[in-house]
Amino acid sequence: MANPDWPREIYDALKRAGVGVVGYVPDGGHKRLIELCLADSELRCVVLSTEEEGIGLAAGAWLGGMRCALLMQSSGVGNCINVLGMTHECRFPLLVLVTMRGEPGEFNPWQVPMGQATRAVLESMSVAVHRVTGATEIAAGVAAAAARAHSENSAQAVLIAQQVIGIKSFQEQAAQ
């Protein structure tokens, strides 16, 4: 891979964007980014039991004056759909980084339907979607999305293509 440390570049972009709270449901694609966030004592990391909790977390943090970023896998995007109505009605800034599953090469067919619907689900709830397909463009995409979220009070999602993360089977992930 041309740029193996894109997770650190995302982390740096989040720090430059003034993010103070990171909410996440763990995902293999976000593993290194989560580790970087956990190692930063200035970041408040909140493990969520379901992705929609993160939408509330981000809203509350913003009400209190803090910026939040959410990390999730594409399968979790569907869990957020109703509560994204609050984000839209209140024009809460929202930054969501989504690692994609269900794209070409996916080994688990049950990941495919939600993976294919991810963009449509987000856009149907007025979340702007930016898909990045190369490791070198991710950090710039995250920085741009964060800037828009906080300057426009809008909801922004960055979809990180599965080809960037690498297609891994359970067996390969377990061996890491």
Binding site: V46, I55, G56, A59, G64, N82, R91
Partner: protein, 195 residues
Amino acid sequence: MSSTLHRRDVVGALLAQRGDTLVVAGLGSTAWDCTAAGDSPLTFPLWGAMGTAAMVGLGLAIAQPARRVLVITGDGEMLMGLGSLATIGVQAPRNLAIAVIDNERYGETGMQATHTAHGVDLAAVAIGCRFASACIVREAKELDAARASLLSGEGPTLVQFKVIAEKLALVLPPHDGVALKERFRRALLGATAAG
């Protein structure tokens, strides 16, 4: 055991001494209860996003660790966000309190029974999720202690108030989400807080 508590007496008692407490009201009856007790820019009433009130409270409690945050929500709303009690228990915010106004009914949709009508114990769930304290309150004589716990006890704490299932006059807060957000941020963060 049936309750003798009226929901608006409970919410009124909690909010009468709120001071500078930041309040998140869950959608439906608890938002109307909070408005009936007196609207405030430092009350953020939800008109949707059912199941999310406690998490909005957690985000606020993290961002404002020096302020008390009180979530006032219903039993149906809390049941929809049950996992958030685990998330909150792990984060252990000392300044977060949750008051569940439990009439054992979905009040806005025809008073259908919720799981708490069948004995589901939200206070026990909260304890199981590592809350610092949680209890069920059924009687007026318990209100003062419950209020003290919610407004100044160590968090996270949850009090489940068993109240009479009654239909009351709607007392609606403003419903413009942007206006609710902006008035809250201005009151909390100052006149220059945009968005």
